[in-house]
């Protein structure tokens, strides 16, 4: 697929994907590299504080979740509201396999991630076959999420029910709180971002943009919409599951509340909304801002929820595409003003 060809749908795209597709390779991956460097430097700024390091690690975790969700929702308009469940299967799956069957952690993670990828692909396939609208996909996945939570609560012997699961084996380096785990999650995030950028520049990304713009038109012009949605569904959910598994091992302990809708899906949605749905760095910006705001507001306890509500309202009544694309648009506008001939 010639990378210079820009299909009609992409021309109207609000995000930077088109620029990314046409730019030479080093320019396209520059944002990822820059982000990697910036985030790698953070611990140097933070210093020795365990609290802030943990906070920063949490931000990385959510940013990684958000990249996965970005692929699923931001690129192919599939509203999967079961991110928490996917992450939970990653964590609980690995944990259960390790606790009960002594399966070594890397293998356990691999198995759980594959299972979740299967679910993700299945949801995508079903939604295309049954021609489900966006809300229906949301409701079906939401239901799945609730089923999962109830399964966790019900199967007490394996999952520990309400009290949660404790990992009985050595979780490995990711369980070492502090710098080691920070850099592990940072590596994961950078890998995700690199993959995301690569996808944007590939024929897969081209197909995503086409079907996001007009699914029927894409289908009619020969794009196998089902196949690409399944790719997005599997890829994004696998990412979320991987992060979920690692996060579970980082904490060493997790319960159903760790992975419920309000703890995972909603924050990720708000982060992405703020950072820019469909944009490369949106997840990072969104996660950073959200984590800082959350930490600052912690003394407000329950009132935080109200604040997030207000943020959501302001975001969606105001900036329709999020803050990051607005900055991109601004940059493009400025560039155009400077060189009127181009």
């Amino acid at each position: 697929m010639a990378s210079t060809e820009v299909p009609l749908g992409a021309q109207q795209d609000a995000d930077s994907a088109v620029v990314a597709t046409q730019a030479p390779r080093w320019r396209a991956y520059l944002p990822v590299v820059a982000t990697a460097v910036a985030l790698a430097a953070i611990p140097l700024i933070i210093g020795d504080s365990r609290y802030y390091t943990d906070l920063a690690t949490l931000a990385l975790v959510f940013a990684a979740y958000a990249v996965g969700f970005n692929i699923i929702f931001g690129n192919t308009n599939q509203l999967f509201l079961c991110l928490g469940a996917f992450a939970g299967v990653g964590a609980y799956g690995t944990g259960a396999l390790g606790n009960e069957l002594g399966v070594p952690m890397p293998l356990g993670v691999l198995i759980s991630v594959c299972v979740v990828a299967g679910f993700g692909a299945a949801f995508s396939w079903v939604s295309v076959r049954r021609r489900l609208d966006v809300i229906f996909v949301g409701i079906v996945t939401l239901t799945f999420s609730l089923v999962f939570i109830n399964l966790l609560l019900g199967q007490r012997d394996v999952t520990g029910g309400e009290t949660g699961m404790v990992l009985l084996y050595d979780p490995g380096p990711v369980g070492e709180r502090g710098l080691v785990s920070y850099y592990i999650f940072l590596t994961v995030l950078i890998v995700f971002l690199t993959v995301y950028r690569w996808v944007q520049r590939s024929h897969i990304g081209w197909a995503f943009r086409a079907l996001r713009d007009d699914e029927v038109a894409a289908e009619l012009s020969g794009i196998d919409v089902a196949r690409y949605k399944m790719i997005a569904g599997a890829m994004g959910s696998a990412m979320v599951a991987l992060v979920g598994a690692l996060y579970g091992h980082y904490e060493g302990f997790f319960s159903p509340t760790t992975f419920e809708l309000g703890q995972v899906d909603v924050p990720v949605l708000v982060m992405l909304a703020f950072g820019g749905i469909g944009s490369l760095l949106g997840p990072v910006v969104g996660a950073t801002v959200f984590t800082i705001v959350d930490a600052v507001l912690r003394p407000l306890a329950q009132l935080r929820t109200a604040v997030y509500g207000v943020i959501l309202l302001v975001l969606f009544l105001g900036f329709r595409h999020g803050v990051v694309p607005s900055i991109n648009d601004l940059a493009r506008w400025v560039a155009r003003r400077r060189s009127p001939g181009s």
Partner: protein, 284 residues
């Protein structure tokens, strides 16, 4: 048999909760995720009034009106930009905006009234219905739900305003051509849905208790019943409510709490996948 009756009782409450949500979707193509919050606001308002000495009946009535007024304000203000969009965009934006509103109300209520709960205990021994002893609270709740639903159905089927509401769901352009103002009716029905959610809260208060934390759960419950019954169909909400209520009751009796929820959810999922338009929806 007792189990089935219990299921019907619960089902009526579910239907009452869902019917407002489904009407708003049918009329305006918007999904209101703050629906459960209207119920909770009613409950908290009524509980607070009762605590300060007001007798039960006026407190409850004021509570329900509070829910309705809140819904009215919401529709007339924040929802305006949503109505400017069409189709799928409108639904998505309505989801996000109402979610924001739900969070705001949820956060404010839980923060300010964490321990306030609505408890409407109906005292007295169990009453025999068809040879089955039923708790008074359960019976009272079912009666309330039945009356409310009955009034709604009479309104929709036999009054001019009610028919105007149905006509907008049937064909909005046709309704406009008859001189019917869709946006004014939409606002009125939005307020009505808030009131109905409030009545559902009262019913819930009779069988158990309702507090500020229940908001989002109620919304999810209403959403599932609505979707299974068919978005926009009042009859569907009724049918789905009863169906899911009976399934819930049977499952809880024969199996257990967690598995029951799973069965309920799987039933809902299966219905959506097999017939996305719902039990009474139009077209697949």
């Amino acid at each position: 048999m007792a189990v089935v009756l219990d299921g019907v009782a619960y089902g009526l409450q579910l239907a009452l909760l869902a019917v407002g949500l489904t009407m708003i979707y049918g009329l305006g193509g918007v999904l209101n995720l703050a629906h459960g919050q209207f119920a909770v606001v009613t409950a908290i308002a009524a509980a607070l009034l009762m605590d300060s000495g007001l007798p039960t009946l006026p407190a409850v009535i004021v509570g329900v009106l509070t829910g309705a007024v809140l819904a009215l304000i919401l529709d007339a203000s924040i929802m305006r930009p949503v109505y400017r969009l069409q189709g799928e965009n409108r639904v998505l934006l309505s989801l996000l905006i109402t979610l924001g509103v739900a969070f705001v109300i949820d956060g404010l209520l839980i923060y300010n009234y964490p321990f306030t709960a609505l408890n409407l205990n109906v005292a007295g021994p169990a009453i025999n219905l068809l040879g089955v002893p039923m708790r008074r609270g359960s019976l009272a709740a079912s009666l309330l739900a039945l009356v409310a639903l009955g009034v709604l159905i009479v309104f929709l089927r036999y009054t001019r305003r009610g028919k105007a509401v149905r006509s907008i769901i049937e064909d909005e352009e046709g309704a406009q051509l008859c001189g019917i103002n869709p946006s004014r009716i939409r606002t009125a029905v939005f307020a009505l849905s808030g009131g109905l959610a409030g009545v559902a809260a009262v019913a819930e208060g009779m069988t158990s208790s309702l507090s500020a934390t229940d908001g989002l759960n109620l919304t999810i419950l209403a959403l599932i019943v609505t979707v299974v019954g068919g978005l926009g169909s009042v009859a569907g909400a009724l049918l789905a409510g009863l169906l899911l209520g009976i399934v819930y009751s049977l499952a809880t009796f024969y199996i257990g709490a967690y598995v029951t929820f799973i069965i309920l959810l799987v039933t809902a999922m299966a219905t959506i996948l097999v017939r996305p338009s719902g039990l009474m929806g139009r077209g697949a």
